[in-house]
């Protein structure tokens, strides 16, 4: 399949700056544009960048470029169509309801934001707000499961791990004290029959 030079140049140019554009720029929208605009933009950008449109192009470099662009278009859409994720993204990027202009936020801050980070943060908020660090959250959840199973050894261990990531978290500290006393109590109970046996 013959590829128009213009298409090739555009796709490869966008692919080369993927890490530097924000989600709105990629969808050719003003920063903070409302969700219905996002949806329309996604449909039209997909018609431009979906790899299926170039199914017959036997050019690995171009195919890689267009696939990379589409994946990022997809990522932008997944974030901006979700009211909660969009709100978080807009806040961090300094966009306010489509009014805020570009360039208010430095490039460094932009690059650091990804869908995965936003989702992890959202999950942390949903996780009762006890912890906010992604790794701490993992151990906090393990500790909760261990609590349900009354596995106090596991609770203590996982809370200590979680505290490695959030050393100042008061709830984690409190839970750890509680779990330690549970563990001590359990050990106390277990020791008794043993002592009796010795006698």
């Amino acid at each position: 399949m013959e590829l128009e030079l213009r298409t090739r140049v555009e796709v490869e140019a966008i692919a080369s700056v993927l890490d530097d554009v924000d989600y709105y720029q990629l969808l050719k929208l003003n920063g903070g544009a409302p969700i219905p605009d996002v949806e329309k933009a996604y449909a039209s950008q997909s018609k431009m960048f979906h790899p299926d449109n170039y199914f017959g192009v036997r050019d690995a470099k171009f195919t890689r470029a267009v696939t990379a662009v589409f994946k990022k278009v997809n990522e932008s859409y997944q974030v901006l169509k979700d009211p909660e994720l969009k709100k978080m993204y807009d806040k961090k990027m300094g966009f306010r309801g489509g009014a805020a202009g570009d360039g208010q936020v430095g490039g460094r801050r932009r690059r650091g934001l990804s869908k995965a980070d936003l989702e992890a943060e959202k999950e942390a908020l949903e996780g009762g707000g006890v912890v906010s660090d992604k790794d701490a959250l993992k151990y906090w959840e393990l500790a909760e499961i261990a609590t349900m199973n009354k596995d106090w050894n596991g609770v203590v261990m996982n809370l200590q791990f979680a505290l490695n990531y959030e050393p100042k978290n008061p709830i984690l500290k409190e839970k750890l004290v509680d779990a330690k006393s549970q563990l001590a109590e359990k050990k106390g109970k277990e020791k008794n029959p043993y002592k009796i046996k010795i006698r």
Binding site: M1, E2, E39, K40, Y42, A43, S46, K47, H50, P51, D52, N53, Y54, F55, G56, A60, T67, F70, K71, N74, E75, Y77, Q78, A116, E119, K138, E141, L142
Partner: protein
């Protein structure tokens, strides 16, 4: 002029279509049948003409006469492992023997011959390709095959392997509900949400789509690969056999022929109950009495009785619908049209239930048996045209999602999610791994698909070993492992050492399927087809998915 065909490879029946002169056409066999039983029948010895293998209506007929040569419902087993519930269930129900192959794949033994499961499906595909070739009067090389939306990576790969064994280039594996939406929405340029309720012979899928002009975006999908029309038949089969047991005729069920006839009678009764308030189930000469005389079996059933018996199955489909709508953040009333797919949706109880759930009657003018194959043909035409650089008049763009989350095993028996379900595809995520001890030479990564946080509730796709790592203190060596889901819904894993920019070899240790070499060796077109033009291109650095 060359054509690409679309095949709906069903559990019980398959359909093949092609877009010819811009018009999608369903292709019939020589008797005018538009749906073809997904049945393969092997002759004992070679007493039948040709290679002794029959497919479709003729195979289905032979199964009545000589059931031990028949293999059917292969789709229920494809891409599954020997210890799965489905395989255990199938072992009790089918006359053929199910064995485990060398790579955790399944094999079938018929007349002392062992066949890989993908080869059985390949026979069905080759038969359908043959029908298309006689209809078009020219060879057909390219195909789009549909699978249930909820099929996992192993099942998709096995289906694609079957297409390749049948000697075709598989342009794309697409989801059945998505194909149906494409066929239904064609030409109707609107902006709305649609739902596809797909109850086939062996699987149930629901997909919620947003149609924006000619862009078809799947918003969410959910399904149950253990629920289908066959389960409704099984309820009636139980009803019949429980009455036989009451009559003390248990021995009859052990005969394969009797089982097949009881199943057919059950199917018949199920269909009749959509039109009649009650029906009679009659099976002539089903068993013999003590004196050796043929005895007929006869019983009655009402629609009310039937509806009560299948109610749990119907209810289950709407639990799955709830799941898809919650994921799409929509109420049932937000759905502008409901498309019904699969033979089971002809049933009155399903029509009425869908009507009350969505608050509207399903879209009319849709043939639930054929629409999926028509959609596959449209997609095949569109991709084939793009491939040849031709503009297609009805070029619609399909953006599908991955039905299940992809994750890797972490310490403590948990799964760390990498790509969430209902993420638009193609997509990829990169995760960085480090070594846990000094000069570690290998890192093992186990890949899972499913929603459970614990490993147990997930399907293991395979495990990868990144080997030959350069010597470095622990934690210092970082590996960027990229998990990619392509437009077929098929998973690929590649690894790179970001420091040296060197790609690492990935060894697939435990994937339930055939190896590349096995697929090549099985290809039906190997003898006559010398050139490699139809072989799929692989770029060497990657091995096909987990």
């Amino acid at each position: 002029m060359a054509y690409a065909i679309g095949i709906d490879l069903g559990t019980s029946n398959s359909v093949v279509s092609v877009v010819k002169d811009g018009v999608p056409t369903v292709i019939s066999d020589e008797k005018g049948n538009r749906t073809h039983p997904s049945v393969v029948w092997f002759a004992w010895g070679r007493q039948v003409e040709g290679d002794g293998i029959l497919v479709g209506a003729r195979a289905s007929h032979q199964v009545l006469l000589a059931p031990e040569g028949g293999v059917y419902s292969a789709k229920r087993l494809i891409g599954r492992t020997i210890d799965s519930i489905e395989v255990q269930k199938a072992r009790e129900a089918v006359p053929y023997e199910i064995l485990e192959g060398p790579h955790r794949d399944l094999r079938i033994r018929v007349h002392k011959q062992v066949y890989p499961l993908a080869e059985i499906s390949a026979h069905v595909l080759r038969y359908l390709r043959g029908l298309a070739e006689s209809f078009l009067g020219e060879p057909v090389e390219h195909v789009v095959i549909t699978v249930p939306a909820y099929f996992n990576d192993n099942q998709r790969q096995a289906t694609r392997d079957a297409g390749r064994i049948a000697g075709m280039e598989v342009l794309r594996i697409i989801n059945e509900p998505t194909a149906a939406a494409l066929a239904y929405g064609l030409g109707a340029r609107k902006d709305e949400y649609a739902a596809v309720y797909d109850l086939g012979g062996g699987t149930f899928d629901i997909s919620v789509l947003r149609i924006m002009g000619d862009v078809f975006e799947v918003v969410s999908t959910a399904g149950d690969t253990y629920l289908g029309g066959d389960d409704f038949d099984a309820v009636l089969v139980n009803y019949i056999t429980s009455q036989l047991n009451a009559e003390g005729k248990k021995a009859v069920q052990n005969s394969v022929g009797a089982r097949v006839r009881i199943k057919r009678a059950a199917e018949e009764a199920k269909k009749k109950l959509s039109f009649e308030e009650d029906t009679t189930i009659y099976i002539g000469s089903l068993y013999r009495n003590d004196k050796g005389e043929d005895q007929h079996f006869k019983t009655g059933i009402t629609r009310v009785q039937f509806n009560q018996m299948v109610f749990p199955l119907v209810k289950r489909t709407f639990e799955v619908c709830d799941e898809a709508l919650v994921a799409a953040k929509l109420e049932p009333s937000a759905i502008a049209s409901v498309v019904m797919v699969g033979g089971m949706t002809r049933s009155l109880i399903i029509k009425e239930a869908v009507d009350s759930y969505f608050g509207q009657s399903p879209a009319g003018g849709v043939n639930p048996d054929e629409i999926v194959s028509v959609g596959a043909a449209i997609q095949a035409d569109s991709l084939f045209n793009a491939m040849q650089g031709k503009a297609s008049p009805s070029r619609s763009l399909l953006i599908d999602v991955t039905p299940q989350s992809l994750g890797i095993a972490t310490a403590g028996g948990f799964v760390d999610r990498i790509i969430g379900r209902n993420t638009s595809i193609p997509t990829s995520e990169t995760k960085t791994f480090t070594t846990s001890w000094d000069d570690q030479q290998e890192v093992k990564i186990e890949v899972f698909q499913g929603e459970n946080r614990k490993i147990d509730g997930n399907q293991k796709l395979g495990e990868f070993i990144l080997e030959g790592l350069r010597a470095a203190p622990r934690g210092e060596l970082k590996l960027a492992v990229s998990f990619e889901i392509d437009a077929n819904g098929i998973v690929k894993v590649t690894a790179e050492d970001p420091e040296t920019r060197q790609s690492r070899s990935i060894r697939v240790e435990a994937s339930a399927g055939l190896t590349e070499a096995e697929v090549e060796a099985l290809r039906f077109d190997r003898e006559e087809d010398g050139d490699d033009s139809s072989a799929p291109s692989t770029d060497g650095s990657e091995q096909p998915g987990a």
